[in-house]
């Protein structure tokens, strides 16, 4: 075909490609914000649980550490379910470890989040008491609850 037609065709193809790139697959800024917020929420929960687990191994665990971090965990656990609105899964185009199962088994996911809140309330009540040994014994249950949900709903490699 002649050179002028070739050039026009190239420009048209290029323009189509560029237009196609800015389509529905581009991540929504609002969704990106939701995902970033829930990741930060979990990161803070991990830090609080880290502090609890390390304290549990200390020779003379300080109840104040358990109480303070339990309070943080309770506050943040309440944010979990609201961090996973519709269309904030892997198809949103933002990097996330959330599995599609969260939305497919929404009831189960929410049940686990509720279970965590109950475990945390129990832990907090134990930590508020005088029995440090009982508190230390209860630490594993918190981590176990975190882990069980991860195993079902978070991307493992």
């Amino acid at each position: 075909m002649n050179r002028r037609l070739e050039k026009v065709l190239a420009v048209v193809l290029l323009a189509t490609a560029v237009a196609g790139c800015s389509g529905a697959t581009e991540p929504d800024n609002a969704v990106a914000g939701v995902i970033a917020a829930r990741q930060e929420n979990f990161k803070q929960m991990k830090e609080a649980n880290d502090a609890i687990k390390r304290e549990a191994e200390a020779d003379n665990p300080d109840p104040a550490v358990f109480r303070a971090n339990a309070a943080i965990l309770i506050e943040r656990a309440a944010n979990i379910t609201s961090g996973f609105p519709e269309n904030s899964g892997p198809q949103a185009g933002v990097e996330t470890d959330a599995l599609p199962q969260i939305w497919q088994n929404k009831a189960q996911f929410e049940a686990r989040a509720t279970a965590l809140q109950e475990v945390l309330q129990q832990f907090s009540a134990t930590a508020a008491g005088d029995d440090v040994n009982a508190t230390v014994a209860a630490v594993a249950l918190v981590g176990d609850t975190c882990r069980e949900c991860h195993e079902e709903f978070r991307k493992r490699d």
Binding site: K46, K53, R54, G143, H150, D157
Partner: protein, 227 residues
């Protein structure tokens, strides 16, 4: 053999060359798999690194002469003498690691060993992947090991950069190509130079088998028959 005759000597045996270049491929792969959260791969590659290091340490005692620690770990006088001799005409041809390079080799080996050891116990079982020996240590230790594992990587990188810079310096400034001998095993010497002694291949195979067995066992969580 006259003073001016050239001879090709085997400076680096096959196990050493294989060890070196496999490590060159492994380090970026280990970094990348960790970055991407591909921990099954990361730990498998880590097990390979462990096997390589175990082999290298054994080989440092029973391998060919240039591979042995006793041949390239020299005292402070030799190191100082080498440093002072830089910029002057070389006297005796150096076969194998120079006194300064020898200690940096040891430093890198120890750093890598440290990194592997930290990785074996690192991780948080409630969060994500854990090293195969994580269950044997306290949470506090595992927590520290995880942080150190990330820190030591940076130290290793610093040594790698230094290592590459020095090798390039030898190539570009001293016109001394150290890369080719590490690929082919050969180096050309002028005049008198003794051929380093080679270790029999069967010895390499035996060391490799022991190293692989050790790495496999550790990767499996160090199971004991009475557990």
């Amino acid at each position: 053999m006259t003073d001016r005759e050239l001879q090709n000597l085997t400076v680096w045996d096959r196990p050493i060359r294989l060890f070196h270049w496999t490590l060159v491929a492994l380090l970026p792969a280990l970094w990348w798999t960790a970055e991407e959260g591909a921990f099954t791969w990361h730990m498998a590659l880590g097990a390979v690194a462990l096997a390589l290091l175990a082999f290298r340490i054994m080989w440092g005692f029973v391998g060919s002469s240039t591979a042995r620690f006793s041949s390239f770990l020299r005292g402070p006088r030799a190191v100082a003498g080498y440093v002072r001799s830089q910029g002057r005409e070389p006297g005796q041809p150096l076969i194998g690691h120079n006194p300064l390079g020898g200690w940096s080799v040891l430093a890198m080996l120890l750093l890598l060993l440290c990194q592997v050891a930290l990785g074996l116990v690192a991780g948080d079982p409630d969060d994500d992947a854990v090293g195969p020996l994580n269950h044997l240590v306290s949470y506090t230790l595992a927590n520290s090991a995880t942080e150190l594992h990330e820190l030591v990587f940076n130290v290793i990188m610093a040594f790698v950069v230094l290592h590459v810079a020095v090798v390039l310096g030898h190539l570009l400034i001293k016109r001394d190509n150290l890369i080719r001998p590490m690929v082919t095993g050969y180096r050309t010497f002028v005049g008198e130079a003794a051929q380093p002694s080679a270790a029999p291949p069967i010895r390499a195979l035996l060391c490799a088998a022991v190293a692989a067995g050790l790495a496999w066992w550790l990767h499996a969580g160090a199971p004991l028959p009475w557990n």
